[in-house]
């Protein structure tokens, strides 16, 4: 039984890609085969964390879904680039080189089940345990599509940014789509905050589980941008928080 988990944030700069990469690495370290769909290959994101040069990227998920190429050509095994040995596997799959192509599939009369079938095929071909979808910020059609087919949705927010409204909308919309599990991750929490208090307030406000409260540290941010954090700095407290979050995802 494989899980599709969408990772979303209403705004950019919340640390969504970083969280995704660390989750993938954690799950792989537990022996899982993990697929990561990167919806934003154009701007620096997951491929940077996985040390994958955009020039290496040729085919994308759409090409596989349309039968234009075998999965091997759309999925890039980045396991060796995680920065440490893991029992599992991590594949990076760019969703589409051209933004909005998936949505066009829908508009052209294809239904969502096509994507579902496609993702199922991907899971099957790559023998994935978990498929993580790193979505676009905001709620465009493509993002809604990912959320719709997900078993779980992780919404990442920052407490110091005024994106409460957008986060609330995302959660409400996800509820409308009957996503079985919705959870919040509060990232880049200023260290002066009482972490437990933040967790409680956010959970109350959105009536939603808070899977993790991750403190902000400039020093850690510098380290984090240079690779997959939990692989490089497994002993630092931030890695412990990522591992705990990974465990929550594993139990979904």
């Amino acid at each position: 039984m494989a899980k599709i988990i969408s990772i979303h944030s209403f705004r950019g700069g919340t640390g969504k890609s970083n969280t995704t990469a660390n989750l993938a690495a954690y799950l792989a370290s537990k022996g899982e085969r993990v697929g990561v769909i990167d919806t934003d290959i154009q701007s620096p994101g997951l491929h940077v964390l996985f040390a994958l040069d955009p020039s290496e990227v040729g085919k994308a998920l759409n090409d596989f879904l349309w039968g234009r190429c075998p999965i091997e050509e759309a999925a890039y095994d980045v396991t060796s680039r995680l920065g440490g040995a893991v029992d599992g596997k991590v594949f990076l799959i760019p969703s589409s080189i051209r933004a909005g192509e998936i949505t066009r599939v829908l508009r052209d009369g294809y239904d969502v089940s096509l994507l579902h079938d496609g993702l199922q095929a991907l899971v099957r071909e790559l023998q994935l345990d978990t498929l993580l979808v790193d979505t676009h910020p905001g709620l465009n059609e493509e993002t809604l599509l990912s959320i719709a087919v997900s078993n779980a949705l992780i919404v990442i927010m920052r407490p110091d940014q005024q994106d409460y409204q957008g986060t609330g909308v995302t959660i409400e919309v996800a509820r409308s789509l009957d996503v079985p599990k919705i959870m919040l991750v509060v990232n880049k929490t200023p260290s002066s905050f009482d972490q437990d208090d933040v967790r409680r307030r956010v959970a109350e406000t959105y009536d939603c589980d808070v899977a993790a409260v991750i403190p902000h540290s400039d020093e850690l941010m510098t380290l984090a941008s240079a690779g997959v954090f939990i692989m490089r700095h497994p002993k630092l407290p931030l890695s412990r928080i990522y591992r705990a979050l990974g465990e929550v995802v594993r139990q979904c």
């Binding site: 039984m1 579902h116 078993n151 409460y164 909308v169 409308s176 009957d178 406000t205």
Partner: protein, 537 residues
Amino acid sequence: MSTVPVESVWRLRQAIGDLRRAAERARADEVAADLRKMQAAADDLLTLLEDLPLRLSEAKGVEGRRALRHDLRTPINQVVGYCELILEETEDRGDGRWAPALAGILIDARDLLSQVDRLGIRALVVEPADEEREAQAAQSGGWVALSRPIEAGDRGRIRGTILVVDDNRSNRELLERRLRRDGFDVLTAEHGARALDVIAAHEIDVVLLDIMMPVMNGYQTLEKLKADPDLRHLPVIMLTSLDEAESIARCIERGAEDHLPRPFDPVLLRARIGASLERKRVRDREREFLERIVAEKRRADDLLHGVIPIGVALSAERDFNRLLERLLQEARHFCGADGGVLFLQQHDRLVHVQLQCASLSIAAGGAGEPVDMPSLDLKVQGGILRPAAKAALYGATVNLEDVHDGGGLDLSAVESFDRRHDYVTRSLIALPLRAVDGDVVGVLELWNATRATDEVVVPFDGGMVDVLESLSRLAGVALHSYHRENELRQRIAHLEIRIDEVNRRREVSQITETDYFRKLRDMAQKIRDSTETGVDR
């Protein structure tokens, strides 16, 4: 070898006696009294002259001859001195009756003096002629202006207290009168040992020191004075009856400022005293400046090595209670204050946040025991203020050197504290702690500064006040920054997650009430229904 003609002395005595009688008849009592003293001096000289051949033969060596010459000159000098004094005093009063006779006596007395100097005592140096003396005087800086005739207006221009040390009572009196006439304050001593006592008890500006004296002579006295670091700078002018190069050189070598040959030329006397006083004044000022420079340097060092690092440390202190505790501790440390209180201003009140007293072993406030004292209301109109309230309201330091003087302040709290703890508060200082914008954020109050050397309670002096005011400025800024940071933290901690429900629903419906979304939801539902638990692998 020439001799002093006794007849000349007799004539001089006769002339003095005639004038005295005339003065007595004219009821010029003061003149008559001085003439009697002159007559007594002439009698002393006659007595000496009768024994002169014997004394000359007995005079052993240079010292003996010197002593003899000294004895002979002393009465003549007194005649000259009194004569000059009477002349000046009567002239001042516009009384010219005595001048011609006095002038004649003066000429005779001076002539007699030169005859004494011409006695065949070869070891003695002949006193310089008057022209020479004047030339000397003109060379010495500072008294050219004084060499003109004395006028009443000049007197008292140079002030100072002069100690006259001479074993001869008449000499002392003569000099004292002359100096008082010139506007000086005068103290006298009959020998060196007595002079040292007077110097210890009074503020003396110049010492006029005779050389030959019993108990302690002039050389010994000079040595004692110059060996004492506190008295080394006191100018000493030697009174040299024996006007000889060797004796003068000996005194100058030992630190004498100058010398005055007898009989005293009034102009020369005033000039040399004036010059000595001026030099002393310059030296005193120099010393004062030096002390001030040393004090300034110490203060700068205190600031650099003490206050500034503490100010920085206070600003870096994250624990507020610890910040308050340290602030009071460091302030007390700088002036050895036995105790103190730190107040923080909260609205219109000063609240005690720290109380420390070393001798009573009290340390309250902060994280420990709270300070059990009522806060001060700053809104109270009129009436007398407590020191801390005054410091807060006026934004200025309140320094009470002696609490019991009151200083127009309400000291009931201090008295009550003293009563309760069987304590005695003597000195007290209250300093406002101000933020960068000048607002008073608190008050630092310290009591009983103690001297490090003997732990005696002293007032908070200028140096301490400077350092404490610097520390207070830094502390004020540290406190203010802490408050601001804390406020910010609280504002962040109280982060309100506000969601506009109406807007949210509208935004949600804009998404969910589209065909696309409905289709999406239906499809998702179908998928979930078909797989129920997820995607098959």
